[in-house]
Each structure stands twice: as structure tokens, then as C-alpha cells.
Amino acid sequence: MSDVVYLDNAATTPVDPRVVEAMLTCLGVGADFGNPSAIGHAPGRRARARVEQARAQVAALVGAEAAQVVWTSGATEADNLALLGAARFYRARGRHLVTSRTEHPAVLEACRQLEREGFEVEYLRPGPDGIVEPPQVEAALRPDTILVSLMHVNNEIGVVHDIGAVGRLCRDRGILFHVDAAQGAGKLPIDMDRDCIDLLALTAHKLNGPKGVGALCMRREPRLGLVPLLHGGGQERALRPGTLATHQVVGMGEACRIAAAEMAAESARVGALRDRLWQGLAALPGVTVNGHPTRRAPGILSVTIDGVEGESLLYAVPGLAIASGSACATTSAEPSYVLRSLGRSDRLAQSSLRLSLGRFTTAADVESAVGAIGSAVERLRAVAPPGERP
């Protein structure tokens, strides 16, 4: 087993052993390995039943029904299918979309593709607390706005948007509302009906499920039109053709079932650990939290540690698996666009860390992290040129 303290659960999570067990029942001779579209024989029908059970489990996590769930390869594909699919389908209604500057690249790059196709996208700047407030969204809406996209929980700083308020103002105006719920689902309650969400993107690997599977949940009524990204055998109502990976979707279903059942207790436990982590780091001079102090998901803590360069800090804590304030999706040393959107200077953005806790994080992990970061900060500050000190 690894001797590294894993605090990068916002990047991905280990698969829960219960999920592994469920997936294994869909692999190998005698298991439910069949093609779920091949319902002419028993193995196919058994696989189909497992897929449909998983669909219901995913739907239940977000207040939806099974028929609203379309399987994808992850949240990136789900975001792309939602944004590109809806915009292309409804382009005759209007060509204006609204989103925020701190969305995941899966949304931002899909929006840029739409711009290349002639759509106009307004990128809202969050406040210094990292949150785009509903009145900002409302002010950006136009008669030709066809879609608003706003993430539930920000993947870098963990702040939580008021999805319900934005959903209601979109619903009142007949504007589609898309939510990237990759980071929030399973950690915080979200309900497609209550929150007036038309399109909701999920991925399994952020909630202790397998990588390579996700889902796009679509509103129940009236049915939405989407132009598919892929063309093929007609699976998933022709919105996402291709043979379903039964073991993957069953794994996602089980992960969602567990997350729903344990959400309240687990969020409280993880939130308490995050608070203890912050308490420990805040004792160091020059450490500030990024994002709103209270409107945040339980598992993500982003901090800026002044007077320390982020890459060297990461290097100096080899026993910790954590993320820096550099661009999350690449190995780039570019400062995080999310932190810059909050008004952080490049230097402070580079001096930032994201620590993200999860189901298997322990109090001992938190104490180890506090100790290791404290030692590294002290050492790196000691070798820095004299001058302004935190």
C-alpha cells in the first residue's frame, strides 16, 4: 500500500471496495458480462437489467428518474453533449449563452467551440469569494439567451453556487440550465426538479467510482432536444451510441447508491477534517483560504501560502499527494485561471495549494499534512532572499 497521504480527491478518488465488488460481477465467465443491447438471450438481458438498475441509482442521487440518464464516458463528455448538443439543437431560438470564467475546461472549451460556430458566450467573473451570484446571471440574460451553464461546486476552490436560485430564474424565462455537478454530486444534495436543472453532468470517479464512465441527466418534461456528438448504433436513445460498458455503469450506479446513503454522515465527517486541516494551516504565517469562507463543499480546501513558490512546496512534500495552484488539467506551470479570476496575482496563485479530502481520508492524514506542509514552508522561507516576509 502507498505510504503517500492522498489529499487529491478532487482530481480523482480511489474506487470503493463495494464498488469494485459490484463491477466484478459484470466481468468474466459466468458473470453479467453480456452486451446489454443483446436482449435476445439471457446474458444480454441480465446485463441490461444491471445497467437499468445502475441508471436508477444514478438518477436517485440527483432527484431524477432513470429515463432521464444518458451514459457517457465521464463529465467532460456529458458537458460537451449538453452544451454543444443543446446549443446546436436550439440555435434557431437564439445564439447567446452565459457561463462563468471559473468553469471546468470541459465547459469553457465547449463554449469556445460554440463561439467558433457563431454563438456568443458571456463569461461571468465571480466575486473575490469565487462565487457567481444569481443577480449577475440575471443581468447577463438576453432575449436570445438559450442556455446558462454554472458549476455546482468549483473544482479548484470548492465554493458552492446557489444552483437552485439560478435554476429558477432560468426556468422562469424558458432558458435551459446546465450544471456541471462533477464535484458536488454525492457530497451535497442536488435535485434536478427542485433546482430547476435541465441538464446535469456527472462522473463516477469523483465519488469513489471507476474512471471512464459518467452520465448526462436530462430534464423529465418537456423532453429536451440534443444533437448527438457521436453517431452509431442507436444506444442511449441515439444520443450516445456505442456498446455500454456494463461493469463501468454498474460501478457508477453502486458508487451513487453508496454516496446517497452515506452523504449526510460522510459530509459531516469530511467537513470536520477539512476544518481541522484549515485550523492547522492557518497557524502558519501568511496563509489565506481561497474562496468563500463558509459556502463551500466539505472536501476541498484551497489555500495561498505567501512567501513560498508552489512547485517547490509540492516538491518539498513528497509524502503528500496534493495539487498546486497551477492549471489543473495540465503539467503547465501557468497560474490557475480560477485563482486569477478571484483577483489573485500570478505570484499568489503560484503559491497556492488545493487539498481535497475524501471517503478514505483520516484524522492522521490531516495531521501528517499539517506537519509536512509546515516543515516545508519553514524550510523554503528560510532559503528565500530577505525582504517582505509574511
Partner: protein, 132 residues
């Protein structure tokens, strides 16, 4: 996962383990100092050398920056020990780039260190009153 981060070569890893040369030289005759870079830009270095008989008999550094930058500053404190002003003036960042396997995206940071080395040469004792 193997233990070694492939972004960092052997010399960077060795240097970062203890950062040899990270210190201040004690004040006294023959001490010269030079700084370069800007913390806002992510790389700042302060080099110190003690010059005796026209040679740098001891060097030290303080630095703020990435591991490649810190390791290069540390490496220089050994590389330039025993050399005279001419070698300081002629020192080129490309030598460090090769020795420490610095990726091209960070070459600009090595120029910061080169600036500091050349400033040390300008501050060489006997030539400039900036000698401490």
C-alpha cells in the same frame, strides 16, 4: 507509482534534498553580493561570494522559485568556487541547463541567475565600491 518525479533530473533531486549553499556568508572583507529577478515573476535570487586573492573562495545563495531554480543556485555555489572574475563574466546559463536537465520552459529563470552572476562580476572587489 514510482517514487521519482520525471520532471526533475538527478542533480536537481540531489540538490533539493539538502540545498547545499543555502545560507548567508558572514560579513567581512571580500564579500560581494548580487541579486536578480522578482518574486512577483516567480524567481528571485541573491548570490554571495567571498573573494580572496582574486578568486571566489566561498559562495552562497538565497532563492525563491521552482526546484530547478533553487537547485541551479545551489549548483552554482560549487561550480564557481575557486574561479575569478573572468569566469564569472563569461558564465552562461546553458551550462546549468544541461547539467541540471532544465526544461526549455524554464530557461528564462536561468537567465535570472546569469544576471546575478554577472552582477557579482561587476561588483568584484577592487573594481567597485559595492563590495561589502
Amino acid at each position: 507509482m514510482s517514487g521519482e518525479d520525471p520532471r526533475y533530473g538527478e542533480e536537481v533531486r540531489r540538490r533539493m534534498a539538502t540545498l547545499p549553499g543555502a545560507a548567508d556568508l558572514p560579513p567581512g572583507p571580500g564579500l560581494i553580493v548580487a541579486g536578480a529577478g522578482d518574486r512577483e515573476q516567480g524567481a528571485e535570487v541573491l548570490l554571495q561570494a567571498r573573494v580572496v586573492g582574486g578568486r571566489a573562495v566561498a559562495l552562497s545563495f538565497r532563492a525563491f522559485g521552482c526546484p530547478h531554480f533553487l537547485a541551479t543556485a545551489s549548483w552554482l555555489t560549487d561550480r564557481l568556487r575557486g574561479h575569478g572574475r573572468t569566469e564569472f563574466e563569461a558564465w552562461d546559463w546553458r551550462e546549468a541547463a544541461a547539467a541540471l536537465e532544465v526544461p526549455p520552459s524554464k530557461f528564462g529563470r536561468l537567465l535570472v541567475i546569469q544576471d546575478a552572476v554577472r552582477t557579482l562580476a561587476r561588483n568584484w572587489p577592487g573594481d567597485d565600491p559595492s563590495t561589502v
